[in-house]
Amino acid sequence: MTPDRDVQELLDRWLAEGPTRVSDRAFDQVVGRVHAQRQRAAWRFLRREPTMISPLRFVLVAAAVIAAVAVGTLLVSSLPSAQVAAPRGGTLTPPSSAPSPSEEASANPATTLPLGLALVDLQGTVQEDLQLPLDAWVADLSVDGRLAFLTQAETLGFCGQCGRLWRIAIVDTTTGSSGYLLGPDVDRVQGLAWSPDGTQLAFTDDDGTGNIDVYVVDVESGELGAFGGDIRRLTTDPAIDEFPAWTPDGSAIVYDNVGSGELDDSGFARTQEIWTVPVDGGDPVRLTTNDVWDAEPDVAPDGTIVFIREGRPWTMTISGTEQRALESIAGGFSPRWSPDGSRLALLQHDGSARAHLPAELGHGTDLPLLRVVIVDVATQGVTNTHQRVVSDLNPASWTRDGGGLLINRYDEGG
């Protein structure tokens, strides 16, 4: 056992080492960013939610609502008909506040980002650019055509008080209404997955200490803007839980737990395994046990789980048996089953280029690019859509009819 005193002396010496001078380049970038950033009025920090609506603000709110409805209408008219289910209506509140255009421009650093949510067909042809906040991240499309995604942008009136915190934004493509889920304890969301019936969202959230766990929120009963609905924390393990996916009956979440092992340079640990936890309460059950990493599961309509084992797609039953590699597939990340379970949308690393994002997004500035490919599970044939996304945190999401994908498209050419 190392004595405390020794540890403290070592820390004293060790932390005294290292660079102590910021580069001129970095400081110049600060100056440039300060110049581009508008200061906030002090009153905005005195309350969490705006309660007073001035005439000017009312006009802006109305404009934002009209804009949101217009976007929604556009979406409705452009989505494949099979996606547009019967309107749900009334479950999402319109934005409660909207910043001025100048506030939007200054608060949303993403206006020139090469990112954008888009619907593409299975050959990769863009059917629709969704014109949503360009910093949208980790999007998922529900069975009834609702988009959930993370954003810190204060655009479209989604989140007037978001600041730099990531919130869950939702756009109902059937009604055009939009809103965001906001809660004081839910501000570092990292993953999203709609329940099979589109009434709940599973997500992973950092509780502020670096411990990321799985949560579920009932979107139907939740009051958007307040996150006042039924939020349940399903896992509490101190290791990171991530990539939640629903079982077909909506009774459980399958996810991966990083375990206690050290992360390698790619961010995986040999102790990383696939687990499942009941949505209505109960202990997590481990589905894989070995000394290699297993991650990023998704569950097919028949219960077959696809997951990534050391960079290659594998499948197993819902109880963890019959683990098999998809031998012909060279590798991939973040697989997503098609609605009929016959195909997978998979992300494959594209080593030919890197994605460059602004630091203010907080994702890092130099990230890998991944190609979106379609795998026919029966033949293991692979179709390249020639579309790319940034990071394996942005899996493709299938449209309800299986004829298209929602992707967070990376396109440096805009």
Partner: protein, 183 residues
Amino acid sequence: VERELLAAAQRGDEAAFVDLIRVRSNRLFAIAQRILRDVDRAEDALQDALVIAWRDLRGLRDPDRFDAWLTRLLVNVCISQAARERRRTANLRVLPLDGPPAPDELLSIADRDLLDRGFRRLPPDQRAILVMHHYLGYAPSEIAETLGIPAGTARSRLFHAHRAMRAALDADARGQILGGRPA
């Protein structure tokens, strides 16, 4: 002069703000680098923290708290960034090398390696506490004041951070003895 600069910056004077942060940026960068163990990410965190500081400066009520407020902003940005880094951004991340360390004859390369691995295993908030205590020389009461937490909480967190660091070092040593695979 500092107060005048701060007042001007709070009125929207960019040049005044730049003057204020110019003399503080090296210290803040050093803190960030030690928490994040990466020069590029430390510079990113510094930029983020200073831009947030500029954006929110009008909300600062007590000018005497400017430095503590700035440090708190930076530490929170570092914790948030480190938490994100603990899970993958994707495969094949290239880790840039840190700048050359100043040699301390009392620390061997093996010591540094051991400390670095142990430190990286700690949760980000514990890393921040250790940097504030061992690099900045803050007492628990100063840590509490800077982070806006009760003094007892700061003491408790520091105790747990030391214990976690010791456990990480011991675990690493055991792994080496037993032929484990340290990173």
